[in-house]
């Protein structure tokens, strides 16, 4: 019964993504086009004939509404159009090239966040108001406050330049060593947030009546923690995973820029500077869909774990 309801809820949410995505695509299409400047504006103006040919080739000579319909039609077939600046590639190819790296980085960061954040939070809550707790809380404040473009170079300075443990930057043909620092940089805020949420949530759960009852029945402290406290403690963590995934999606752009990794991050900035309309649009569409999808998955997992959520 429950699973049937959940399935229906998932389907409804999935359908809800479509209009949102449509809004995102439309809004960004018109923002990008309304801005002054175009992809073929250069220091030295092109001959009018060449310019007209280029415009015709890419369909820029047609009215905006026609271009819009054409673009939407392409998207429905999974076609993001050709890149205006990187002439030999289609936007789909460019994104397909960079996305695996960005996704690896993002998944690694999320995994690190869960694997380190939860134990840290539990440790801090169990040793409340001890030096261990203060230490972890301080790390949490730092992790939440510091942006990746500060922690990234600083980590590279310490672990790369001074200690020579890891490569400073770059991409050694996909060797995992090169991904360690970027993944840690990206994971730090996630670890910190998860630790903070876990700590607060566990402290609250441990005050609950049923925990007191469990203790009163003489159940050992460890067993109380594992059997009774852990699951409700982790509920807020699960609901944080959606926003965390969205953060990691955009955060990986930052980290890729900092460490010079060939993911998709560089295309957004480059594309925006070059007025590469299709590249920017493609990036927004793909990352918008990713963010929406990840949020949806997080919500469904939450509904599946939490017996009190109803999906009418």
């Amino acid at each position: 019964m429950k699973s049937a309801l959940l399935l229906r809820y998932a389907m409804r949410r999935l359908l809800g993504i479509v209009p949102t995505l449509f809004c995102i695509v439309s809004a960004s299409f018109f923002i990008v086009r309304l801005a002054p400047g175009g992809p073929f504006d250069q220091e030295q103006a092109l001959a009018p004939q060449i310019r007209a040919n280029l415009d015709r080739l890419y369909g820029l000579d047609q009215p905006l509404s026609v271009q819009y319909v054409h673009y939407l039609g392409g998207l429905l077939h999974g076609d993001f159009g050709p890149s205006f600046k990187l002439r030999d590639f289609s936007v789909g190819e460019l994104i397909a090239q960079g996305l695996p790296l960005s996704l690896t980085l993002g998944c690694a960061a999320l995994a690190l966040g869960v694997l380190l954040g939860i134990p840290l939070g539990i440790a801090a809550a169990l040793r409340r108001n001890t030096p261990a707790d203060y230490g972890i809380t301080t790390l949490v404040v730092l992790g939440v406050a510091l942006p990746s473009f500060v922690t990234g170079p600083l980590l590279a300075l310490v672990f790369g330049l001074y200690l020579h443990w890891l490569p400073v930057a770059g991409w050694g043909e996909g060797a995992p060593r090169y991904l360690i620092l970027p993944a840690i940089t990206l994971a730090l805020p996630v670890i910190a947030s998860i630790a903070r949420i876990t700590r607060g949530s566990l402290l609250e759960v441990l005050r609950a009546n049923y925990i007191r009852t469990a203790r009163a029945r003489g159940i050992g402290e460890m067993r109380v923690l594992w059997r009774h406290a852990l699951r409700p403690t982790l509920m807020p963590v699960v609901s944080y995973l959606g926003p965390a995934a969205a953060y990691v999606v955009t955060g990986s752009l930052v980290v890729e820029t900092v460490f010079g990794l060939p993911g998709t991050g560089r295309y957004l900035v480059q594309g925006a500077i070059n007025r590469d309309y299709t590249l920017v649009m493609g990036m927004i569409t793909v990352y918008g869909a990713l963010t929406l999808g990840l949020n949806l998955i997080a919500d469904i997992v939450y509904g599946w774990l939490d017996p009190t959520v109803r999906h009418e």
Binding site: P36, F149, V150, V168, A272
Partner: protein, 285 residues
Amino acid sequence: MSEARGLWRDAWYRLRSNRLVLVSIGLILCVALVAVGGPALSPYAPDTLDWQHLAVPPGLQASHWFGTDRLGRDLFVRTLHGVRISLLISLLASAVSLVIGVTWGAVAGYIGGRTDEWMMRFVDVLYSLPYLFIVIILTTLFDRGSLTVLLVAIGAVGWLTTARIVRGQALTLKRREFVDAARATGVGVPGILVRHIVPNLMGPVTVYATLTIPQMITFESFLSFLGLGVQEPLASLGSLINDGAQEMQSAPWMLVVPAVFLVTLLVCFNLVGDGLRDALDPRDR
């Protein structure tokens, strides 16, 4: 009104006993003071090129206290000017996002119904856009390097969370008796919003505003780090950190000095925000 004063006085007592918050406020004030007054102490301007002292490390040499960069520009003066710009932009952007967010959220929450649904749907759509994308696109497409565009771009993204928080508060506030009473005596919608709803949600809004400032500092610095924000010869903390990251091997102080200032500001603002939240909403403690 006396209840409101009680809330704020209580909050002030709780805040005063939180030493971490006091230290943070002190540090922020110190940094701000130094940023305003400090550059006058140095014989150099932020764009003076000192050819005798290229990339010297921090020290007392020729009063380059924090060293110089590769062009011989004094890092002390440049960093403090960077702090000034970062603080100015982030404070203004926070104000912009606060005004939009409070107005949007209060109107949506108080009016409710279809209006509320559409206004919040709009917020949801903007929310699901990766915020960095919008900011990057706005700043690159419209007149790169203009401080106004920078302000609008980061302010335009920051108001979403404020709007959500304010709407939630307004939804509960509008069912309270004093709002009923105001409506019964014939106060119009704008009057109720301005006189009764908005003053009563200042608590959570203050907390969120304090937490918005470090976010705005981060946005601005990040854009400048990418080269999309403040343009040469002006410097912000972000562009200085970017310069420093390029020269990390030969001149690590160029990275460390602005990073220390940025880290101090961000951590202090976050601590003050957390402290304010504990002070205004002691339930969570």
